[in-house]
């Protein structure tokens, strides 16, 4: 049985394919269209999924969509923000994807819940889904058992922890739906001195409920910032304006309030389900700082967070729900997120004027060479295997650097990622060495939790230790990520250091690279010192490339992308 899952029409559209209950392909549309957060129906990702599985459209038994469009439309209408033309996913799945078979629609939060629990290793678990808003729900408490998910309680729009965080994100001058991670990073630099002000906006109710003050947001525009928020926090920071200690305090405060309410409500969920295991999904579940605290303080002994916890993961959840509905069987547990396309870079390289170093058949030499370069302070693009699903690069489309050098972080933020200097980076550590670096050594293969760095390691690893002493580790195993594990081994042998800095392979405003071409563009357009393309190492590009590649893909603003082509 072949089930396609889709998410679209808000941000981060994605497609996945389940073959007899096993995920064989999944990807976000942005990776193909190169438009970050691409919201349109994932036509390219759909084509990729079918190609990867060797299928044509008639072999797809079912398409599952991650939302109920009618309910969403009802909410948009109530908000006075109905788009024109209105998206109609069912029509689009027929007309744009050419799907002829059945289509099933599942509620947004049910899709999130399924994306977490049904792919988790747990037979039964408590499940929390929390985001900005689905159709009407913003937070839902679930009990998962076998292939079944039961909603215990839900909180409805506009009472939303995700929107509260987004509103403060906007107040801090960052972009809603993109800047929340920045706020989380900024939070480490501040103290929650404004938490009291923000607490005035949130009223906890018995059970899982909570309410936000009715004037918390201004929903008439995308930036959400309301007069009440300004009354409580002061004038908002203009985008690009100076960042002060006060801003860091506000970030720390919203983070604190979020963690408080999550911990309180998880206590309710734990009591309601009696489970020791917890699954999380929804955009709020990408808050790794909160996730770390949840594991440590909520009383749940095991935590599983859907690696693509945002809307992209909704595609996986919808597919899982359809699978359960059709067969009664839940899908196989997620075994890694390298579900995107892989490439043989040789023909790509052969067409270029590059002179790459060839390490084919000499993996150990490749690892030694890359370790040597990293040890000399080089920052390296790392492109191996199939592309990851979700916001984290986990060793397939990564940028790697020496975590012992503070300048690695500075250079990465300044020259390569071109983002705020306070943004932290994460370490990749061999799973067996994790306990040497962080205080909670539970496996964290998807880089979704923050933990304190061991005190004796903090000074040694300045590029991956956040100002608050925490890190967001990725634990690496040779089974799941053999090349990265091989490199970590070589790195450790050479330097004695168990960790490497690992960040996503993209420049500011760009999606993570997908193809060797994207990686070569990134090499040309950023300050990367070298690029590893599978078993080749490229360390220099022609002088003209940076300018050429920047101009070749201009911002998509004109009615026609190729307007250089004359009219």
């Amino acid at each position: 049985m072949h089930v396609v899952g889709l998410s679209a029409h808000y941000h981060d559209s994605a497609c996945c394919l389940l073959r007899d209950g096993r995920l064989v392909a999944a990807a976000q549309e942005e990776r193909f269209t190169r438009l970050k957060g691409e919201p349109r129906l994932p036509a390219e990702a759909y084509r990729y999924c079918l190609r990867e599985a060797g299928l044509d459209p008639r072999q797809i038994d079912l398409v599952a969509y991650y939302e109920l469009p009618e309910l969403r439309r009802e909410r948009q209408k109530a908000m006075g923000r109905l788009p024109d033309p209105e998206p109609d996913p069912v029509r689009e799945i027929r007309e744009l994807l050419g799907h002829e078979g059945p289509i099933r629609l599942f509620p947004h939060h049910a899709s999130h819940a399924a994306s977490a629990f049904l792919y988790s290793p747990f037979d039964s678990a408590a499940v929390l889904t929390a985001d900005g808003v689905g159709e009407w729900a913003t937070t839902v408490y679930w009990s998962g058992d076998g292939a079944a998910l039961e909603a215990l309680e839900e909180v409805r729009f506009p009472h939303s922890l995700g929107l509260l965080y987004s509103a403060v994100t906007a107040w801090l001058g960052f972009e809603v739906n993109r800047g929340e991670g920045t706020v989380m990073g900024l939070a480490g630099w501040g103290r929650p001195r404004r938490a009291g002000a923000l607490r005035q906006l949130v009223t906890s109710l018995p059970g899982g409920g909570f309410r936000l003050a009715p004037d918390t947001f201004d929903l008439s525009h995308d930036r959400l910032v309301s007069p009440r928020l300004c009354e409580l926090l002061g004038p908002p920071r203009p985008p690009g304006g100076e960042l002060t200690e006060e801003h860091a305090d506000v970030a720390a405060s919203v983070q604190e309030v979020l963690e408080e309410i999550l911990l309180e409500k998880l206590a309710f969920l734990r009591g309601a389900t009696g489970s020791d295991d917890l699954c999380l999904a929804g955009g709020v579940a990408l808050n790794c700082k909160a996730n770390g605290r949840i594991l440590e303080e909520s009383g749940f002994s095991r935590l599983w967070v859907q690696p693509a916890a945002g809307d992209a993961g909704g595609a996986l959840g919808a597919a899982a729900l359809a699978q359960v509905e059709a067969t009664g069987e839940r899908p196989a547990p997620l075994d890694g997120v390298d579900l995107g396309p892989g490439f043989d870079p040789e023909p790509y390289l052969a067409a270029t004027p590059l002179a790459p170093l060839d390490f084919r058949g000499r993996s150990a030499d490749l690892y030694d060479e890359v370790a040597r370069r990293l040890d000399h302070g080089e920052i390296v693009g790392w492109f191996t295997g199939r592309m990851e699903l979700g916001p984290r690069a986990l060793g397939q489309r990564s940028i790697l650097a020496d975590p012992r050098r503070a300048e690695s972080r500075e250079r990465l933020n300044r020259e390569i990622k071109r983002r705020e200097p306070f943004r932290p980076f994460a370490p990749a550590i061999l799973e067996e060495a994790a306990a040497e670096v962080v205080e909670t050594p539970a496996p964290s293969p998807h880089m979704l939790r923050s933990h304190p760095v061991r005190a004796e390691r903090r000074e040694e690893l300045p590029a991956v230790t956040h100002v608050d002493g925490s890190a967001r580790p990725q634990t690496v195993t040779a089974r799941r990520t053999p090349r990265l594990a091989g490199l970590l081994g070589a790195w450790r042998r050479r330097t004695g250091c168990p960790a490497l800095l690992n960040t996503s392979f993209n420049a500011r405003g760009e999606p993570i690279v997908c193809t060797p071409t994207d990686a070569l563009f990134a090499l040309a357009g950023t300050g990367l010192d070298a690029l590893v393309l599978e078993e080749w190492v490229v360390d220099a590009v022609p002088e003209a490339w940076p300018e050429l590649t920047t101009l070749w893909r201009p911002p998509r603003q004109s009615p026609f992308r190729r307007d250089l082509y004359t009219f």
Binding site: T33, R40, L41, A43, E44, Y46, R47, R51, D56, P57, R58, D84, P85, E86, D88, R91, E92, E95, L96, L97, G98, E100, P347, Y348, A351, T352, P353, P516, T517, L520, F521, P542, A544, W545, E547, L548, T549, L551, W552, R556, Q557, S558, P559, F560, R561, R562, D563, L564, Y565, T566, F567
Partner: protein, 598 residues
């Protein structure tokens, strides 16, 4: 420097050698659409100054910077005049008027305005059934309901008239003498075939029957029969489609009647309207635009250089002698036009034209082949310009081979060794073209031979012969239009390029559009049918063994002609548009999910 200085186009106010001037940034590797003149001093160093404004034709596209209309005009006018080139590729009327207003800072004595080719495509983009805007689609629906297939084009024409009148009023407000150059287009060579629009009853089937009849008659050397078939075809579509006019023109040429050929070719241009265009066509000034320019010139007492009349005197059916493609002028075309402009500016012109090296001429010819192919030129035109380029300068052969290498690579041309290292290849040869370039590759094989080109074709593959064979918003990736996972054919045939090392088996996953009755679908190769089978509106894999020889060849999918494609189709389109949904105003004959070698 005057505080009140403001930019003129790309030129920014600056002080140069102690003088007020306007300075432009260095053009990047892809150019920036403007002239490469670095500094324009505010004070004219010659007796008089004129500013030339316009679109790519006025900017000398393909020949610039080595030869441009501004330079040719300067040469014809002599040393008294400083000609300031303010023409810009992709210029629109608003931009042109704004540049003219800013150019007052240069104290010009005269403006020359050479515009009109962009008025069809670029000035009325909101008149599209695909534009992702609910209100625009509802307006389109009402125009379609009131005026049928031509209704939206009439709405666009009204909007265009207002724009041109507004532009002329802005120019007149400058209180400067203005010479308007009404452009002519390539009437002989450039064809703008469009598929049949939605026609009532079995009109679509009959339309293609008449198209076949006209083509067969032309091939058989029977212009009279071709003319009759073309006229019958036009009767069906009411002149909404350019295809019949081209057939009429070709029939008239075959009969030796150039006057009728000219009239029909002009009608072809006029009927190729953005508002109901199915596949991308080239920008060309319509007769309506030419007349609006003449009318504006008369009303505002501007001078007029009437290129349709001037070129018509030189050649009744102007073609490749004057034009590289649909509207861009050759050196001979530029000289003819600018000599006429010079005569409108002053009595007497300087003799002789501007020199142009063989290399730059050959590069422009190569550009004509590639750019033409990217705008839908038929193979014969692409081959002509490739051949001409190689004849003009044998070094063009190396550039053509590098083009093939760049197109065969899996990386974009901009990253390829071939494209980067060959100084012949410029953006005009399609640096940003992302698709396979079958028409150019085929021309290269034709001109340079399979032995030379064959080894460069890259791995076996099946690619669309031209991505322009899709509906134009999809081909152009119009912003906001959702991408499709499938290709829809607006023609009853779909061409693919097959690159193979020998015989291969291919698989096409295809279906007919929703609501179609089952019909016979065929796959042919080099004109020979490989397989036929019945298709219906459900996806089916169709396999065929292709007896390909090493190299590039053409695979064609032949779709059945629906018996009643147009029955209620316009009404359905109106209903969709009224709901804010995009709608086709042309039939879809088939859909392809994938075509590949198995």
């Amino acid at each position: 420097m005057d505080d009140a200085s403001r930019p003129i186009g790309i030129w920014r106010p600056a002080e140069v050698e102690g003088e007020a001037a306007f300075v432009r940034p260095e053009p990047g590797p892809f150019g920036d659409h403007w002239s490469d003149r670095r500094v324009i001093f505010r004070r004219c160093r010659r007796e008089k100054r004129l500013c030339l404004l316009g679109e790519s034709t006025a900017a000398g596209y393909l020949l610039a910077p080595h030869l441009t209309p501004a330079r040719a005009l300067g040469a014809r006018l002599g040393r008294r005049w400083d000609v300031v080139d303010l023409a810009r590729t992709n210029e629109r009327l608003d931009g042109l008027a704004a540049t003219a207003e800013a150019a007052l800072q240069l104290d010009p004595d005269l403006l020359v305005v050479f515009t009109g080719n962009n008025c069809n495509l670029l000035e009325t983009p909101s008149w599209s059934p695909y534009l992702p805007s609910g209100p625009a689609r509802r307006r389109y629906a009402e125009a379609l309901a009131r005026g049928g297939i031509l209704g939206p084009a009439q709405g666009a024409a009204r909007e265009l008239r207002t724009k041109i009148e507004t532009t002329f009023a802005r120019l007149a407000a400058l209180r400067l003498p203005v010479v308007v150059v009404a452009p002519e287009v390539n009437l002989a060579d450039w064809e703008s075939p469009q598929p049949a629009p939605l026609l009532p009853g079995d009109g679509v089937r009959r339309w293609y029957g008449r198209l076949d009849a006209a083509r067969e008659a032309l091939a058989a050397g029977d212009p009279n029969a071709a003319r009759h078939a073309a006229a019958a075809l036009l009767e069906l579509d009411g002149g909404a489609c350019p295809t019949g006019f081209r057939l009429l023109s070709s029939a008239a040429v075959a009969a030796g009647d150039l006057e009728r050929a000219r009239t029909a070719a002009r009608a072809e241009v006029d009927s190729c309207r953005y508002a109901h265009m199915a596949v991308l066509a080239a920008p060309q000034a319509t007769a309506t635009v030419q007349e609006l320019l003449r009318e504006g010139a008369r009303r505002h007492r501007f001078g007029l250089v009437d290129l349709p009349e001037i070129l018509g005197r030189a050649e009744r059916l102007p073609g490749r002698r004057w034009f590289y493609d649909y509207c861009h002028l050759t050196p001979e075309g530029i000289d003819l036009a600018m000599t006429a402009v010079a005569r409108a500016v002053q009595d007497g012109v300087e003799p002789g034209g501007l020199p142009l090296s063989d290399r730059h001429r050959a590069a422009a010819e190569l550009g004509a082949a590639v750019h033409g192919a990217h705008r839908g030129a038929r193979g014969e035109i692409v081959r002509h310009w490739c051949r001409r380029a190689v004849a003009t300068s044998p070094a063009a052969a190396g550039a053509l081979l590098d083009l093939v290498r760049a197109r065969a690579a899996p990386v974009p041309a901009v990253l390829t060794r071939a494209q980067i290292e060959n100084p012949w290849l410029t953006p005009q040869q399609g640096w940003r073209w992302e698709a396979y370039d079958a028409e150019v590759v085929a021309a290269a094989i034709d001109v340079l031979g399979q032995a030379e080109v064959g080894p460069l074709l890259g791995p076996p593959r099946v690619e669309p012969w031209t991505p322009l064979d899709r509906f134009y918003p999809e081909a152009m990736e119009a912003e906001g239009v959702p991408p499709r996972a499938l290709l829809r054919s607006p023609w009853p045939w779909t061409d693919y390029a097959l690159v193979a090392q020998g015989p291969v088996e291919i698989e096409v996953v295809a279906r007919l559009p929703e609501g179609s009755a089952p019909g016979e679908f065929g796959v042919s190769h080099g004109g020979k049918v490989l397989t036929r089978r019945e298709l219906d509106p459900a996806w089916r894999p169709v396999r065929a063994v292709v007896p390909a020889r090493p190299g590039l060849s053409r695979l064609t999918l032949d779709w059945p002609l629906p018996a009643h494609a147009g029955q209620g189709a316009l009404e359905r389109a109106v209903a969709r548009l009224r709901k804010g949904l995009e709608a086709d105003v042309h039939p879809v004959f088939g859909e392809v999910f994938s075509a590949r070698i198995v």
